[in-house]
């Protein structure tokens, strides 16, 4: 008898290493590079307060005379040297990128989370209940899909600003941005989840759960949700890249975070004004960071989609 004892069973780490996903990951150099780049940027952003030489969000520490210092060259007035130079307010570009990426990533993650929760909830309800509620939710989704999401986010942002008293505007700006991007993106999740739910709900395990009298909420959360999460994760990963770009776009247009707390998009907007005058570093470095971040997250999403697709195995 070779009854396997718990000690014999491979532990979680080994099991994860042996899983299909991990195997597919190891086989894809592109996914490995993308994951590395995303990880580096995310870690750098998270640990920005310890990594960055300056705190660009504390205006009291800035010296205006440091403004427009080229990368790796001493400033003409103060003699200070900055790796990636400084912007027009004397902010160290390297530190500002770290802090800016932090805001961009925070807004991106939170917006995706918000859109995901909203989209999954509505999708599950629409798919499971069907009938008039389904029609209503899906028509709302259809109507929303006809608008470009950035336009919708602009609208939501503008309306919200009108309601928030001036004293709280700056503190609320980031949350308004998250809600605006999230609200303009939930449709994707709702549609996918609804479709998957409709397929799942006629399957035997759901029927069985229903027969034994389980509450619909329990059926949705415990039985159906885990089975529709695959495609949702793929959308969420690609959605993260899109949300980061949406945040950058809004900030580039000047409606996002306040200019004293720049995100990557704000930095690009500032830098764009100095393109002709030769201060290329203010624009170039934040743009490269945004490009690397959006591209690597997108590539990860692509790889995840293929890895989770049984037909491609």
């Amino acid at each position: 008898m070779t009854d396997s004892t718990p000690e014999d069973r491979p532990n979680a780490l080994v099991r994860a290493w042996d899983s299909d996903i991990a195997w597919s990951f190891r086989r894809s150099p592109l996914a490995i590079i993308a994951a590395l780049v995303s990880l580096i940027i995310i870690l750098a952003a998270v640990f920005a307060p310890w990594l960055a030489p300056h705190d660009p969000f504390d205006p009291g520490t800035l010296n205006l005379m440091d403004g427009f210092t080229p990368p790796m060259e001493p400033n003409a007035f103060t003699g200070n040297v900055y790796w990636l130079g400084t912007d027009n307010q004397g902010r160290d570009v390297f530190s500002t990128i770290l802090y800016g990426a932090r805001i961009s990533l925070f807004v991106g993650f939170m917006a995706v989370l918000f859109a995901m929760v909203l989209g999954i909830t509505l999708g599950l309800i629409a798919g499971y209940r069907g009938g008039w509620l389904d029609s209503l939710l899906m028509r709302v989704a259809d109507v929303q899909l006809t608008f470009p999401s950035i336009l919708l986010a602009l609208l939501i942002f503008g309306v919200a600003r009108g309601f928030i008293p001036p004293a709280y505007r700056e503190a609320m700006a980031i949350w308004v941005l998250i809600v605006a991007i999230g609200l303009s993106d939930w449709v994707q999740y709702a549609r996918v989840v609804r479709g998957a739910t409709m397929v799942e709900k006629s399957k035997e395990y759901v029927q069985a759960a229903r027969v034994i009298g389980a509450h619909p909420t329990k059926i949705l959360v415990r039985h159906i949700l885990p089975n529709v999460m695959g495609p949702v994760l793929v959308i969420a990963t690609i959605g993260l890249a899109l949300a980061i770009i949406a945040e950058a776009t809004l900030s580039f247009l000047g409606v996002g975070v306040p200019p004293t707390q720049p995100s990557l998009g704000t930095l690009i907007r500032i830098g764009q004004g100095f393109l002709f005058s030769g201060e290329w570093w203010i624009l170039l470095f934040p743009s490269l960071t945004l490009l690397a971040l959006a591209l690597s997250v997108n590539l990860l999403g692509d790889w995840l989609r293929d890895a989770l697709n049984p037909r491609l195995r």
Partner: protein, 532 residues
Amino acid sequence: MTTKRLLRSARTGLVMSTAAAALMLTTVAVDAETLRWARVGDALTMDPHSQNEGPTHTLNHHIYETLVGRAVDGALTPRLATDWGISDDDETVWVFTIREGVKFHDGSDMTVEDVVFSLDRARTTPSGMAALHAAVEEVTAVDDTTVHVRMSGPAPLYVQNLTNTFIMSKAWAEANGVETAPNFAAGEEAYSVRNTNGTGPYMLVERDPEVRTVLQVFEDHWDAAPEVTEIIYTPISEAATRVAALLSGEVDIVQDVPVQDIARLEQTDGIRVVRGPENRNIFFSYDMASDSLASSNAEGNPFASPEVREAMSLVIDRNAIQQVVMRGESQPSAAPLPPFVNGWTEEMHAFGDPDLARAQELMAEAGYGDGFSVQLDCPNDRYLNDEAICQALVGMLARIGVSVDLNAQTRSLHFPLIENWETDFYLLGWGVPTFDSQYVFDFLVHSREGSYGAFNGSRYSNPELDAKIEALATMTDLEERDALIAEIWDEVMEERIFLNVHNQVLAYAMRDDINLDVHPENQPRMTTVTFD
């Protein structure tokens, strides 16, 4: 055979029409000169009296005309008035001789009735021009060419106030229901906001606010025909885009050249840059009268404390703003008026080095040693690098614990905040078209009542000072008047109503075959443009 003949005749026709087209093209090229003019923002309204604001007047000067004009050297020139002076019989009456044979764009003749109507409309609230005409008691037409303006007392400088007050058609205003100027601060919409009927050298043919405005030369204009026959006015708010438009030949003149691009444009072949000082100062001001501030966490109103105002004047580093933010293209000054203006002194202009230690001491004395938060409202498309100036101040104020939320937005949203007292702390630039301090006092210092104090966002109110300001309008002894102006400035400087930053320096960039001078009020006239 028929086909061949048909082809031949078609060919002849083609040749002839091509020749005709070529002929037409050449004549067009000789006669018509289109000038594509770009600047940072659009005119706020086309109504001639609704808003007293630079870019609005600049565009309207091409469509409407004033009684007197201002030349590039600052001198007054005849425009719709051919002659003016104080009446020999009564020193409180100004006499204007009105030009004959002037036509409005709709073909009707301009009469003295139109002049009387326009001056009355301009001095009636909610007109934005009212403060300039506060001392006017009555405007009457004496005969077909003479208009009398009776003042509340002798007003030797009144004619200086007329350089931006446009003359419009009475019949047209009545027919379109715009007998009074629309209230700009309240966002009132009226026929005259988008339609015009002036006597100026150009007619409005297309108006798409914030996008494109097209003006066509007015054939029946009384003056010599300008070389430019069509103006296409395009607001481009993004600095780099504006410069790119000029470099790529999409526009011919850029009026608001970003300071960072001046050097590059000067080195570019085919581009000419002209520069000169503007009659305009840039300053911060604050609500110093309310009990508390809407956007602040502070107990009471910190700006009401003289120590806080002094501390702020000690942390602002004007030279750093000039060197970095303005790249040298400004004149740092503590005087809240440009040197062009009567009343300016070297003493007001001078300022010391920033003194952080003293400023912190003052904040502690005022009871704000731990600082406070406040929102700073700032335009981002009106003055040169306005948003960057505000941002620089945010950093300087942070050193004395003042935590500033910066709210930078377009000027059509920014100005009503000041006019409606909805801002605690703001940036404003003030040009002085009359070249006299009284204009500054009337709009910015006098308590807000009637036609006075339209841009007095500080809520400062001092009845004694108000009386002195009102007295200026009717003083004949200019020496005495200058002494009173100095007295008022002493009080204003003592109270620190304004935290001045600098005087603006202008640069226009254009195709190098175009000649246009920098106008000290930043009001270039395209009628003066000549081509090499």
